[in-house]
Chain length 89, copies 2
């Protein structure tokens, strides 16, 4: 069983109120190291069997057509999820 990760972020020129809210909450915790925070979405797609190039192409198409809104968002990553990164799945 394989997993593909798709990461979608708001375009750089789009305001990101959720990210801004998080960014201004951090100093209250004493965390002042971060100059900006942007919030996006990620999707874990599960496939039967191994991840093939064909499945990655399907994931890329799904990312462009369903998982993101191309007017305000960019698909920044579509790749196989390795065990190290998907430990919590």
């Amino acid at each position: 069983m394989g997993h593909i990760i798709v990461e979608v972020m708001p375009k750089p020129e789009i305001l990101d109120p959720q990210g801004k809210a998080v960014g201004s909450a951090l100093p209250r915790l004493g965390i002042t190291s971060f100059t900006s925070v942007r919030q996006g979405k990620c999707f874990h797609l599960t496939v039967d069997g191994p991840v093939t190039d064909e499945l990655l192409a399907d994931a890329r198409r799904a990312a462009e057509e369903v998982l993101s809104n191309p007017i305000i968002e960019d698909v920044v990553r579509v790749e196989e999820l390795t065990d190290a990164a998907g430990g919590a799945l």
Copy 2:
């Protein structure tokens, strides 16, 4: 200028209605390769200068205390974002 990515996913035992909705929209596009879809959040944190272990520790603390709700979500990844993955930043 460095970037850290934090990825937060709903715990496996938690229902994920957004992911389910996406999963059932895909076959309408003719994409039937995926057996399940889970939707999570990701955050890109920007730091001045290079990403150090200390900054990663700050990011891990922010992830646990602000960016995720530990009752229903797991922090699945906190790491430096390389240029390859963050091209759209």
